[in-house]
């Protein structure tokens, strides 16, 4: 140990300088570690985003094939010239499309080849044309060129997601079929257009007809139920715990349990919902109502904790002031503390909801994993949710579903980012300095 008292000023300065160099070096090292950590995190994030986006962006387009149709209007309309639903239902739309396609390829003969040829069209092409015409109610131009959806295999080929190089028996399109597609390309009778169905339709067995609207609406309905149930309950619980609960064993127990509840795996909440809401109360399966209730249970502790934190951030002097002029404890809480704690409660709620939006496991348990082709129109109609839809699609064999699940992930991420940005914005804007 150096005896500093005996050193001259110069010697002491030199000693201090030497230690200073060490200290600075240490600081620099720590800074570099921090930068490396951030770099890793960013690299993973960028990898995730680029993977998802590069896999998913092609789902924004859908391949269509041009057919020359001559719709027999007389077989479809009633006396007033409007489409008759009954006649339309009896009409063989698929047959008409297949026939039109065969006319494009007059050389194709034989059962097998004809079947192969019709596989180029979407299995839903006839049905969707019928729906479109029935919705319009009339046929303005019965004959001419119509664009109808191709099958998902042709779609994949057109997007370069099906390699022509691999052996024929490992491909979903045969050499002959690829040859026909090439002929269509040469004739300019095939094109890629914006994939409207993806945003306007619910799930389907055929990837080319499958959309996320059903899942988005299901998620939205469930989240509405969640916020309506969880927010008031959580705020009341937080106020009670902060201001009215008598300190003691029971209160401590409740507090510990609420904190633990926030860490319970969500699948447990799903099982709870399954056995209590569905099993005991007999509520409908696959319903956004039940999904919202399960998610509310899951979000409740998050919002309670956020609310308690923001209530505690309100200076006690405000409460003293209110009580001091004779406000009842409830008035002090409702008139003064809650409004001041509102920004914190709000951001906590949004973050809780964002968490709930991305939750899959509990919804699977209560049956929101079902295959549902209709956009839900109420809280009790069967529905699925956005993350569950992603789960279903990524589990499907078709390559086209894979691309759609990637795009659905992008949509989900955009919802989450929007919610989190809103939370940040609100916190910045409403933040109060004391």
């Amino acid at each position: 140990m150096t005896d500093f008292a005996s050193l001259s000023i110069e010697e002491r300065t030199a000693h201090l300088k030497a230690t200073l160099i060490k200290r600075h070096a240490k600081e620099r090292r720590l800074k570099i570690y921090g930068l490396i950590a951030i770099g890793f995190a960013l690299a993973f994030l960028v990898t995730l985003l680029t993977t998802v986006v590069s896999n998913g962006y092609t789902a924004l387009q859908q391949t269509e094939i041009r057919l020359k149709l001559d719709i027999p209007v007389a077989e479809l309309v009633d006396d007033a010239g409007m489409i008759d639903a009954k006649k339309s239902a009896n009409f063989n739309w698929d047959g008409m499309l297949k026939k039109a396609l065969r006319q494009e390829f007059p050389d194709v003969k034989g059962m097998m080849d004809r079947r192969k040829l019709s596989e180029l069209l979407s299995a839903n092409a006839g049905f969707e044309l019928r729906q479109e015409i029935e919705a319009k109610g009339r046929i303005d131009t019965p004959s001419g060129y119509f664009w109808v959806k191709s099958s998902d295999d042709v779609d994949m080929l057109m997007k370069g997601r099906m390699s022509r190089e691999i052996p024929e028996d490992q491909r979903r399109l045969s050499d002959v079929q690829i040859g026909w597609v090439d002929q269509l390309i040469a004739a300019d009778a095939i094109q890629k257009v914006f994939n409207k169905s993806f945003f306007t339709k619910a799930d389907s067995r055929e990837p080319e007809s499958a959309g996320i609207l059903g899942a988005v609406v299901g998620s939205a309905l469930a989240l509405i139920v969640t916020v309506v149930l969880a927010l008031p309950m959580a705020v009341m619980a937080a106020i009670y715990l902060e201001y009215f609960a008598k300190p003691g064993r029971l209160t401590d127990l409740i507090e510990v349990n609420i904190n633990n509840l926030a860490a319970v795996p969500s699948i447990v909440f799903g099982l709870l919902g399954l056995s209590v809401f569905l099993g005991f109360f007999g509520m409908p399966r696959s319903a956004p109502l039940v999904g919202g209730m399960v998610l509310a249970l899951m979000t409740l502790p998050t919002i309670i904790i956020a609310t308690r934190a923001s209530i505690r951030a309100v200076p006690s002097s405000i409460r003293d002031a209110a009580l001091g002029i004779g406000a009842s404890p409830m008035q002090a809480a409702m008139h003064h503390i809650l409004p001041l704690a509102a920004p914190g409660i709000l951001t906590g709620t949004i973050i809780g909801l964002a968490q709930a939006l991305g939750e899959t496991a509990p919804l699977i348990m209560i049956g929101m994993v079902a295959f549902i082709v209709d956009v839900p129109d109420g809280l009790t109609s069967p529905a699925t949710a956005l993350p569950v839809q992603i789960f279903i699609w990524s589990d499907s064999a078709e390559r086209a579903f894979y691309e759609r699940s990637s795009l659905a992930i992008v949509v989900l991420l955009m919802f989450l980012i929007t919610m989190n940005l809103t939370a940040v914005y609100l916190r910045r804007k409403l933040e109060r300095k004391w």
Binding site: K246, P247, P315, S317, I318, R319, D320, A321, A322, L323, G324, I325, G326, A327, S328, Q331, H335, H336, L340, R432
Partner: protein, 255 residues
């Protein structure tokens, strides 16, 4: 002692925080329409005692108050007495000015609103104006009543809190070191205000400033370690204290 009637008195009041006794069997009668100063070193229990008079200790979960506090002969330290009602009669001003983060008008109007003291907007306007005038703040803020109260200066904020307290028409005002965060000029304004207010209200003030106690109070009570050591006329306490401890504190030897 004086022969003036006392509205407020304490009998054998003890306060416990958990098992710790913070105030030990204090009894005293307070003088009506006068200023009583509670003095003593930090932690002597004077603020705790002050908060007994409007039951603000109820807010602290660990606090327990024993004994009787008589307001016009009625013990207020019983569960039958609603603290909300009591606090409308016994106003309080806190150490740190604590205006609500609302407009000046809403700060004053809040008390009358929750107690239903004004049936009409005009009545409320009148109460606000009257309270601000009594607190000597009207001239400074009359043209910006809708401004945020938190934008006022520290001294103005504290006078606003006094105006807020008297807006619900109490008979007693409790002040817990109201000037401790203020500069000497703002303090002088508040002291002058207290001088005027004592004609209408019975005032109890906790203060750390001996000079302030000497300037504004008629009665003084000296506390030490939870005991009421001495209580009497301010003049007598400051010039000729009976207890050695009091003298040591006042003359600056301890404290």
């Amino acid at each position: 002692m004086t022969n003036l009637s006392s509205k407020l008195s304490a009998k054998d009041v003890s306060v416990f925080y958990n098992e710790k006794k913070a105030l030990k069997s204090v009894s005293l009668d307070l003088l009506e329409n006068a200023v009583t100063a509670f003095i003593g070193p930090s932690g002597c229990g004077k603020s705790t005692f002050l908060r007994c008079f409007n039951r603000m200790n109820d807010v602290i979960p660990s606090a327990r108050v024993e004994g009787e506090i008589l307001l016009n002969g009625v013990n207020i330290n019983t569960p039958d007495v609603d603290p909300v009602l009591l606090r409308a009669q016994v106003g309080m001003v806190f150490q740190k000015a604590n205006p609500f983060p609302k407009s000046i008008y809403d700060n004053i109007a809040y008390g009358p609103r929750i107690h239903g003291l004004a049936s009409h907007k005009d009545d409320l306007d009148h109460i606000v104006e009257d309270s601000l005038k009594k607190a000597g703040l009207w001239a400074e803020v009359s043209d910006r009543l809708m401004d945020q109260a938190t934008g006022l200066s520290g001294g103005q904020q504290q006078r606003l809190c006094i105006a807020r307290a008297i807006a619900v028409n109490p008979s007693i005002l409790l002040m817990d070191e109201p000037c401790s965060a203020l500069d000497p000029i703002a303090t002088a304004v508040i002291e002058e205000l207290i001088e005027n207010l004592k004609q209408r209200y019975t005032i109890i003030i906790v203060t750390h400033s001996m000079q302030q106690a000497a300037r504004i109070s008629q009665k003084a009570a000296y506390f030490h370690l939870g005991n009421l050591v001495e209580y009497g006329d301010t003049k007598q306490i400051f010039t000729n204290p009976t207890h050695e401890q009091t003298e040591a504190y006042i003359s600056g030897k301890i404290g």
